[in-house]
Protein backbone atom coordinates (compact mmCIF):
# COMPACT_ATOMS: atom_id res chain seq x y z
CA UNK A 1 0.00 0.00 0.00
CA UNK A 2 2.68 2.49 0.97
CA UNK A 3 4.55 1.85 -2.22
CA UNK A 4 1.61 2.39 -4.47
CA UNK A 5 0.61 5.51 -2.59
CA UNK A 6 4.14 6.74 -2.96
CA UNK A 7 3.98 6.12 -6.67
CA UNK A 8 0.69 8.00 -6.77
CA UNK A 9 2.31 10.84 -4.93
CA UNK A 10 5.10 10.83 -7.47
CA UNK A 11 2.67 10.99 -10.36
CA UNK A 12 0.77 13.83 -8.71
CA UNK A 13 4.03 15.67 -8.19
CA UNK A 14 4.96 15.22 -11.82
CA UNK A 15 1.63 16.55 -13.00
CA UNK A 16 1.74 19.41 -10.54
CA UNK A 17 5.26 20.43 -11.42
CA UNK A 18 4.44 20.34 -15.09
CA UNK A 19 1.48 22.58 -14.42
CA UNK A 20 3.57 24.92 -12.33
CA UNK A 21 5.95 25.30 -15.21
CA UNK A 22 3.30 26.69 -17.52
CA UNK A 23 2.47 30.34 -17.83
CA UNK A 24 -1.24 30.47 -17.33
CA UNK A 25 -2.30 31.54 -13.85
CA UNK A 26 -4.96 28.94 -13.51
CA UNK A 27 -2.67 26.12 -14.48
CA UNK A 28 -0.13 27.31 -11.96
CA UNK A 29 -2.73 27.47 -9.23
CA UNK A 30 -4.07 24.04 -10.13
CA UNK A 31 -0.50 22.85 -9.99
CA UNK A 32 -0.10 24.17 -6.49
CA UNK A 33 -3.39 22.57 -5.46
CA UNK A 34 -2.33 19.18 -6.79
CA UNK A 35 1.03 19.65 -5.17
CA UNK A 36 -0.66 20.00 -1.83
CA UNK A 37 -2.71 16.85 -2.39
CA UNK A 38 0.50 15.04 -3.09
CA UNK A 39 2.22 16.18 0.04
CA UNK A 40 -0.76 15.33 2.21
CA UNK A 41 -0.80 11.80 0.93
CA UNK A 42 2.92 11.54 1.36
CA UNK A 43 2.71 12.72 4.95
CA UNK A 44 0.10 10.10 5.61
CA UNK A 45 2.12 7.39 3.95
CA UNK A 46 5.18 8.39 5.95
CA UNK A 47 3.36 7.71 9.18
CA UNK A 48 3.06 4.14 8.07
CA UNK A 49 -0.28 2.86 6.79
CA UNK A 50 -0.94 0.35 9.49
CA UNK A 51 -4.03 -1.71 9.11
CA UNK A 52 -5.28 -0.16 12.29
CA UNK A 53 -8.53 1.49 13.08
CA UNK A 54 -9.39 5.06 12.58
CA UNK A 55 -7.88 6.97 15.47
CA UNK A 56 -11.03 7.13 17.55
CA UNK A 57 -10.61 5.48 20.91
CA UNK A 58 -14.24 4.47 21.15
CA UNK A 59 -13.69 2.06 18.31
CA UNK A 60 -13.02 -1.55 19.06
CA UNK A 61 -9.53 -2.87 18.87
CA UNK A 62 -6.38 -1.36 20.17
CA UNK A 63 -4.44 -0.74 17.01
CA UNK A 64 -4.85 2.70 15.58
CA UNK A 65 -3.39 4.30 12.57
CA UNK A 66 -0.85 6.99 13.25
CA UNK A 67 -2.79 10.05 14.33
CA UNK A 68 -0.02 12.59 14.34
CA UNK A 69 0.44 12.85 10.56
CA UNK A 70 -3.29 13.16 10.24
CA UNK A 71 -3.29 16.11 12.57
CA UNK A 72 -0.43 17.65 10.67
CA UNK A 73 -2.21 17.14 7.38
CA UNK A 74 -5.31 18.82 8.74
CA UNK A 75 -3.27 21.87 9.61
CA UNK A 76 -1.59 21.74 6.24
CA UNK A 77 -4.91 21.48 4.44
CA UNK A 78 -6.19 24.59 6.12
CA UNK A 79 -3.06 26.50 5.36
CA UNK A 80 -2.97 25.45 1.75
CA UNK A 81 -6.61 26.41 1.49
CA UNK A 82 -5.82 29.90 2.70
CA UNK A 83 -2.90 30.21 0.33
CA UNK A 84 -4.81 28.84 -2.63
CA UNK A 85 -7.68 31.20 -1.98
CA UNK A 86 -5.31 34.12 -1.81
CA UNK A 87 -3.50 33.07 -4.95
CA UNK A 88 -6.73 32.63 -6.81
CA UNK A 89 -7.98 36.04 -5.85
CA UNK A 90 -4.64 37.52 -6.74
CA UNK A 91 -4.81 36.00 -10.21
CA UNK A 92 -8.37 37.19 -10.51
CA UNK A 93 -7.40 40.68 -9.49
CA UNK A 94 -4.59 40.76 -12.00
CA UNK A 95 -6.95 39.64 -14.66
CA UNK A 96 -9.51 42.23 -13.75
CA UNK A 97 -6.94 44.99 -13.77
CA UNK A 98 -4.90 44.09 -16.77
CA UNK A 99 -6.76 41.51 -18.77
CA UNK A 100 -3.75 39.26 -18.64
CA UNK A 101 -4.05 35.62 -17.76
CA UNK A 102 -0.36 35.07 -17.47
CA UNK A 103 2.53 37.01 -16.10
CA UNK A 104 4.34 37.41 -19.37
CA UNK A 105 1.58 39.19 -21.18
CA UNK A 106 1.01 41.28 -18.09
CA UNK A 107 4.60 42.31 -18.07
CA UNK A 108 4.42 43.21 -21.72
CA UNK A 109 1.57 45.59 -21.05
CA UNK A 110 3.41 46.97 -18.16
CA UNK A 111 6.63 47.69 -19.95
CA UNK A 112 4.93 49.82 -22.57
Amino acid sequence: METIITVLVGVLVMVAVYLLLSRNFLRIILGSAILSHAIHLLLLAMGGLKEGNAPLISEEGSVYSDALPQALILTAIVISFAVTAFLLVLAYRIYRDTGADNLDSMRRDFDD
Binding site: N53, A54, L56, E59, E60
Partner: protein, 94 residues
Amino acid sequence: MISAMLTVSVVLFAITIAIALVRMIIGPSMPDRVIAMDVIGVNLLATIGVVSVLYGTKAYLEVILILGILSFISTIAFSKYIERGVIVERKRDR
Protein backbone atom coordinates in the same frame (compact mmCIF):
# COMPACT_ATOMS: atom_id res chain seq x y z
CA MET B 1 -20.86 -14.13 2.22
CA ILE B 2 -21.76 -10.67 3.41
CA SER B 3 -18.26 -9.41 2.94
CA ALA B 4 -18.17 -10.89 -0.54
CA MET B 5 -21.35 -9.07 -1.43
CA LEU B 6 -20.00 -5.90 -0.03
CA THR B 7 -16.76 -6.25 -1.92
CA VAL B 8 -18.63 -6.81 -5.14
CA SER B 9 -20.69 -3.72 -4.56
CA VAL B 10 -17.59 -1.65 -3.84
CA VAL B 11 -16.13 -2.83 -7.11
CA LEU B 12 -19.36 -1.99 -8.88
CA PHE B 13 -19.34 1.47 -7.38
CA ALA B 14 -15.76 1.88 -8.43
CA ILE B 15 -16.73 0.99 -11.96
CA THR B 16 -19.55 3.49 -11.82
CA ILE B 17 -17.18 6.21 -10.72
CA ALA B 18 -14.68 5.30 -13.39
CA ILE B 19 -17.29 5.43 -16.11
CA ALA B 20 -18.64 8.71 -14.83
CA LEU B 21 -15.12 10.04 -14.92
CA VAL B 22 -14.95 9.08 -18.57
CA ARG B 23 -18.10 11.04 -19.23
CA MET B 24 -16.68 13.90 -17.37
CA ILE B 25 -13.54 13.95 -19.42
CA ILE B 26 -15.17 13.49 -22.81
CA GLY B 27 -17.98 15.91 -22.15
CA PRO B 28 -19.07 17.14 -24.61
CA SER B 29 -21.06 19.92 -23.01
CA MET B 30 -20.44 21.50 -19.67
CA PRO B 31 -23.65 20.28 -18.05
CA ASP B 32 -22.64 16.75 -19.03
CA ARG B 33 -19.55 17.13 -16.98
CA VAL B 34 -21.37 18.60 -14.06
CA ILE B 35 -23.83 15.75 -14.11
CA ALA B 36 -20.95 13.35 -14.19
CA MET B 37 -19.46 15.11 -11.23
CA ASP B 38 -22.71 14.92 -9.39
CA VAL B 39 -22.89 11.22 -10.10
CA ILE B 40 -19.37 10.74 -8.90
CA GLY B 41 -20.13 12.63 -5.71
CA VAL B 42 -23.26 10.70 -4.96
CA ASN B 43 -21.69 7.36 -5.72
CA LEU B 44 -18.68 8.25 -3.68
CA LEU B 45 -21.03 8.89 -0.82
CA ALA B 46 -22.58 5.47 -1.29
CA THR B 47 -19.18 3.88 -1.57
CA ILE B 48 -18.09 5.41 1.66
CA GLY B 49 -21.15 3.94 3.28
CA VAL B 50 -20.25 0.52 1.97
CA VAL B 51 -16.67 0.91 2.97
CA SER B 52 -17.60 1.83 6.49
CA VAL B 53 -19.71 -1.31 6.64
CA LEU B 54 -16.78 -3.28 5.30
CA TYR B 55 -14.42 -1.84 7.86
CA GLY B 56 -17.08 -2.14 10.52
CA THR B 57 -16.56 1.41 11.70
CA LYS B 58 -18.92 4.28 12.24
CA ALA B 59 -16.20 6.78 11.82
CA TYR B 60 -17.13 7.67 8.28
CA LEU B 61 -20.82 8.27 8.65
CA GLU B 62 -20.22 12.00 8.98
CA VAL B 63 -18.45 11.89 5.72
CA ILE B 64 -21.51 10.53 4.00
CA LEU B 65 -23.70 13.39 5.01
CA ILE B 66 -21.10 15.99 4.33
CA LEU B 67 -20.46 14.56 0.91
CA GLY B 68 -24.16 14.73 0.22
CA ILE B 69 -24.32 18.34 1.28
CA LEU B 70 -21.33 19.42 -0.64
CA SER B 71 -22.11 17.52 -3.75
CA PHE B 72 -25.41 19.34 -3.77
CA ILE B 73 -23.79 22.69 -3.17
CA SER B 74 -21.21 22.25 -5.86
CA THR B 75 -23.75 21.08 -8.34
CA ILE B 76 -25.79 24.16 -7.68
CA ALA B 77 -22.73 26.29 -7.94
CA PHE B 78 -21.81 24.80 -11.27
CA SER B 79 -25.27 25.07 -12.65
CA LYS B 80 -25.56 28.68 -11.61
CA TYR B 81 -22.20 29.28 -13.13
CA ILE B 82 -23.25 27.76 -16.39
CA GLU B 83 -26.58 29.46 -16.40
CA ARG B 84 -25.66 32.91 -15.22
CA GLY B 85 -21.92 33.10 -14.86
CA VAL B 86 -22.46 34.57 -11.42
CA ILE B 87 -22.77 32.29 -8.48
CA VAL B 88 -23.74 34.75 -5.83
CA GLU B 89 -25.62 37.81 -6.89
CA ARG B 90 -25.55 41.05 -5.06
CA LYS B 91 -29.19 41.79 -5.72
CA ARG B 92 -31.44 39.48 -7.57
CA ASP B 93 -33.41 41.69 -9.86
CA ARG B 94 -31.73 41.35 -13.17
